[in-house]
Symmetry: C2
Subunit: 715 residues, 2 copies
């Protein structure tokens, strides 16, 4: 928006050019300090001279081509970005021209094509798109190509997104706190809005647009109806105005009881005509302020949130009322399938399927059901959610969690692309082999025109946006997968590392190694073999497998079911038969301990301590060794990171080093607390290679943490 | 601490050198973007070439001189600062040497002397001090001299602080929120501590040290006992370690009931030997972790905080118990005089005096009684507190509020140096003419060796530290006055403007004009003539003179006493006689409406609407004209600011412009709401020159703001 905000990131490149100069004055530095604010949009001069000259020659003049061929705020944003970006990377800003060109159906609404052509003054680079936003995406594609030092020869080509709505869900409260936020507080300064537009909003939009994200849900799913009052809607409209040139539409969470709380009605019953009229008028008001408003995200009848069931109506009836109000304006409803019943179910993992599958076909055309990747709640590892493939008549939105609620907050290094790829590539067998979750989500399996994917954001007011210097890799990975779910985790890790740290292979090798190993390490030291929900109450940081005093399905003991015989939740046909919620081909694999992938074994089966796993070792021994391996892996990263000291700037080096030290300590805490606890049941010694615990079980039980970030209990 | 953190501010100067280069690449900018992070420590190249060359010649070699002559972390910090500072300002880092020299009694523990001498290679600049911290203060003094473009000829001289303890009081909660904080959230990331030391902590220490501040109370006076547990004390120790080289000692708030809450005792009675032993052991523990710990700040028996009165003990008995525990280690207790009784007093303004004056002489030698500048609570204008001069046997610490709780948060421009100067220069007449509050506070009036001044901080996680780009002027002003209370508000405003914006007189003239006019403008549009406590409940933002439904002495109507006859609180001998709490010479002036300064008239007197003021106009007319003048003044700033557009960087220009627009709107809101409300009683028309209100009184009464920053109700 403001040039100030724009140049706030853009200008940093001047620091690169003067790094040498700075070294003359200051105590010697390993590398320039870097506070991480620029994320992956670092336009520092390319170190590879030959490549830089190559690009300089090719990218001196760039032509934007659209069917309209006319300027717009989006075209202006694309132009500013390419000028600042290449000025930094290549040392010279390009000349940019805009011209009219033909439609290209292959590019769709948001795709772009990069190429070259001969012009009067020599070679020109071209960025073509059907709509202006495609130009901006093309600019970011070009910059990524240069930033990651890809050869000029491989630049030409086209790209378009596989999923239509690519959203960040912010669990941000109006008081500035962020539920499950670990990187400071909310980016949205509601009190200063609408008067003051923080330049950071623009940088947020740039970062999102650089990945192709095109929607943002500003508010927490545990919603406050106040955001739907005019007082707040004018603030929302101002944010929407900042984001609009970057192709980002604003969505809000709708508290189902809003007609009562801010509307003065006595009921929120979706069958009540006054309620329906209230929502219609509210939608009209919103669209009068935000003409491209995206729609509502709703958490209803879950964890105390109000919903249609209070009035004897179904989720579909509730969702459709809101959808009807939005439909005339082109808005959608994203209705969450994450539901918790008031009464304890026989198996919590089965509840969403049981409630939602019967409703398939009952939702309005502009309703998505938004389903988490797994049936419990963003655990380090879950099987894919059984609803995927089970509701062919309803477009399902996939909800992923970028913020690390159960994977160490902003303290632990945990790259989540492997979690998400695992889900996306899972075969539901809903329409035979190859019916992957990805194909359910992108609409291709069931022929849905509209499609959506959402990531619960990990952003906050921390200067580096995401807290842990590596956590931005998850924002990056989510955006890249939302655009193209076929990208590999390794490719994404490589891109992010090159753009964020360095193209130097001495750097990219170790860092991508850490990234790609990290999720499995976290699984190992916290919840291996499909164990889940072993974490401490409320804040979800650290181990507490012993907790048994809450509502049954909030207790870790409900999930791990450790006893003298063995460990794990029997969800096979002999148990809750949650496995039976999957397509038969999948149910058979999950439901049979001999076929079930070992990484999910204790999710689906109660396994004897002395059962032999594929390695030939017993369940108990393998469990112990996995916990130990998680710790060892973190120690390997510590060594690898220390070796990078000469190649990383001091500020980020020190930060990561401090966090790895803490992650190692936490990994030992997880290992020791869990193994001592389970050992009460297994009554077996730790196998060779597993370190003795640092404390007693009572020590670990006595640990009480205060004010762990992100916990709603803090405020 | 870390070089990264240090260079985080220091390195910015390279952006200056490349500003020109940047202009070649980017859309034209009025001036470089500036996010305000560097505060007044901007070491951009001096624009005045002749002066720069002059300084280059003189400051090429600098000698640090102390009696010890040995290196230390403080010497290293001083060296880094002068190297980075002069490299930026002059384009060349000096050579720095350290040598031994004589004690200089005139400099005391913290003072410094700047000078020149001839050396082998020509002229040398010298910075001499008795202790290393004096060198650091000398470095900042030298840098300020250069930054404000003072002539080299006026550099030589000495400086030492007038007050011994110069403290920031942070009302920061352990959950990260800041009571009455308007610039984001707490700077202290308790969860990341002690592992991760944010480089920002070092920059905080640099900013404080640059002003000579030497203590920081990390936690809210509405205290959480948890900070005294070992879990938190190791975190405190880490912060103390970061601050130590910068001469800053850490203090904590002590919750009086901590022995119960974290000590497992049944009582917190200061006469109980177990309680006394607990505090002694706790003090020992703290000093084992933080050897230079400053001491405890305590709010007791006030606004619901626990205290000794619950056990029938006096404030002195409570304070002395803590002081006894700290005494062996050299710590002090700062015991707040801001007390609210459970029952409503006849005049709230009299309460602290009534409770504390009888205790003079009963406090231990290491106890301060900490007194706010005025008897109510940081209003835009108050008379000085009657306790000043009334407790000669007790060292009194002066508590000022840097954060603008009652002056528009971080939205309104309000430079507070005039508020504080007004207090410091007030003559208490306690020991005859010239017994100023400043002399009470610095210990000179009553011969106290120890002395203290505290400012409630306005810092937070906002990138620019204080929210409003002008709010850092208040941090700056507090620090400068704490060092030298004889400095004028104009001098401080000029320094800050030069260091923060520019030495260009086209900039310094208008900005210092705005700064120096701002406090009176806020008084005018909100609470002129000594009106006070007219603000809205809880969040204290905006007008609500009509509130009458709270505990009596929390209601605005309790304070303004508007009726058909007139306006104001009669505190003369015919009323509550709060005026009688002052020395007779002062009491006579305040108590007589004919002598009372008009700016405090309604504080001390109930004045008829038709009474004639010195202008010849009636009370009502003058009241209206003052409200109007406050609005007009803000409009003058808006014009002045707009004219500065070519001379201010885009980011700060836009930010201030947006805030001034809002301040003007708020000023009208204050004016209209208050005048419409008072008009019900005066039953007189608005005089000529006063604009008609924009709404009705009912409109203003209906205003309800949500989540106003800083309100404890938000969390």
């Amino acid at each position: 928006m403001t040039r100030g905000g724009f140049s706030c990131l853009g200008l940093r490149r001047d620091r690169a050019a003067l790094a040498l100069l700075a070294l003359l004055f200051l105590a010697p530095l390993a590398a320039r300090a870097d506070d991480g604010y620029r994320l992956w949009l670092r336009y520092d001069r390319l170190a590879d001279d030959a490549l830089r000259r190559n690009y300089q020659a090719a990218a001196g003049r760039i032509v934007f081509i659209t069917p309209a061929g006319t300027a717009s705020p989006t075209v202006a944003a694309a132009r500013r970005e390419i000028e600042a970006g290449l000025a930094g990377l290549l040392g010279r800003a390009p000349q940019v021209a805009l011209e009219q060109g033909p439609q290209n159906a292959a590019l769709g609404d948001e795709g772009y094509s990069l190429g070259f052509r001969r012009g009067s003054g020599g070679r020109l680079m071209t960025i073509a798109a059907n709509r202006d936003i495609g130009l901006l995406y093309g600019v970011f594609g070009l910059l990524r190509h240069v930033q990651t030092q890809q050869p000029l020869a491989s630049l030409a080509g086209t790209s378009r997104p596989g999923i239509r709505r690519r959203l960040l869900d912010h669990w941000d409260n109006l008081n500035g706190t962020v539920e499950r936020g670990y990187a400071g507080f909310s980016l949205w300064d509601w009190f200063a809005l609408p008067d003051y537009r923080d330049p950071r909003y623009t940088d947020y939009a740039r970062a999102c647009a650089s990945l192709g994200l095109n929607g943002t849900v500003l508010t927490n799913v545990n919603a406050n109806a106040l955001v739907l009052t005019r007082e707040y809607l004018v603030k929302v409209a101002m944010l929407a105005g900042v984001f609009r040139p970057y192709g980002i539409r604003v969505y809000l969470t709708a508290r189902f009881s809003a007609p009562i709380q801010i509307g003065g009605l006595k009921t929120a019953d979706p069958a009540d005509s006054a309620v329906r009229a209230w929502w219609k008028a509210k939608a009209d008001e919103i669209y009068s302020l935000v003409p491209d408003f995206g729609g509502f995200l709703v958490k209803a009848n879950s964890e105390g949130q109000p919903g249609p069931q209070e009035y004897g109506r179904t989720h579909a009836e509730g969702a459709n009322m809101l959808a009807d109000a939005l439909a005339p304006h082109g808005g959608v409803v994203l209705w969450r399938a994450f539901v918790y019943d008031q009464k304890v179910p026989d198996d919590r993992a089965k509840q969403a399927f049981n409630e939602f599958r019967p409703l398939d076909g009952r939702f309005g055309p502009n309703v998505f059901v938004q389903v988490k990747n797994g049936p419990i709640d963003f655990m380090p590892r879950e099987p894919f959610h059984p609803l995927f493939g089970a509701m062919p008549r309803t477009p399902l939105a996939l909800e992923l969690q970028i913020t690390q609620e159960y994977l160490g907050g902003a303290v632990h290094l945990a790259f989540l692309a492997p979690v998400w790829k695992e889900c996306l590539e899972s075969d539901t067998w809903a329409a035979g082999a190859g019916s992957t979750v990805a194909r359910v989500i992108d609409g291709s399996l069931d022929g849905h025109a509209d499609s959506a994917i959402a990531g619960v954001a990990n952003t906050g007011t921390d200067r580096n946006w995401c807290g842990h210097p590596f956590a931005a890799a998850n924002w990056y990975a989510f955006g890249r997968l939302a655009w193209d779910h076929s990208l590999s985790a390794a490719r994404i890790a490589d891109e992010w590392t090159r753009m964020t740290f360095s193209n130097d292979p001495r750097v990219t090798g170790p860092i991508t190694g850490m990234l790609l190993a990290s999720r499995e390490a976290v699984v190992d030291y916290s919840m291996p073999f499909g164990l889940h929900h072993l974490m401490a109450t409320d804040h979800h940081y650290g181990p507490a497998p012993w907790v048994d005093n809450l509502r049954a399905d909030w207790n870790p003991v409900y999930y791990h079911r450790a006893d003298a015989e063995g460990l794990g939740f029997d969800r096979s046909p002999s148990g809750s038969n949650a496995a039976g919620q999957y397509a038969p081909q999948v149910a058979q694999v999950f439901g049979d301990p001999a076929q079930c992938p070992e990484q999910l074994l204790l999710w689906f089966h109660h396994v004897r301590w002395d059962a032999r796993l594929r390695s030939g070792r017993t369940m108990w021994d393998e469990l112990c060794l996995h916990y130990q391996n998680g710790v060892d892996e973190v120690r390997r990263w510590m060594k690898a990171w220390d070796a990078l000291e000469p190649l990383i700037d001091r500020e980020r080096f020190d930060h990561v080093k401090a966090l790895l030290r803490r992650q190692e300590r936490d990994a030992r805490w997880w290992r020791d607390a869990c193994l001592l606890y389970f050992q009460q049941f297994s009554r077996q010694p730790l196998p060779a290679g597993v370190e003795l615990p640092g404390g007693t079980l009572d020590d670990y039980r006595a640990v009480e943490l205060h004010f762990v970030p992100g916990s709603p209990k803090n405020w």
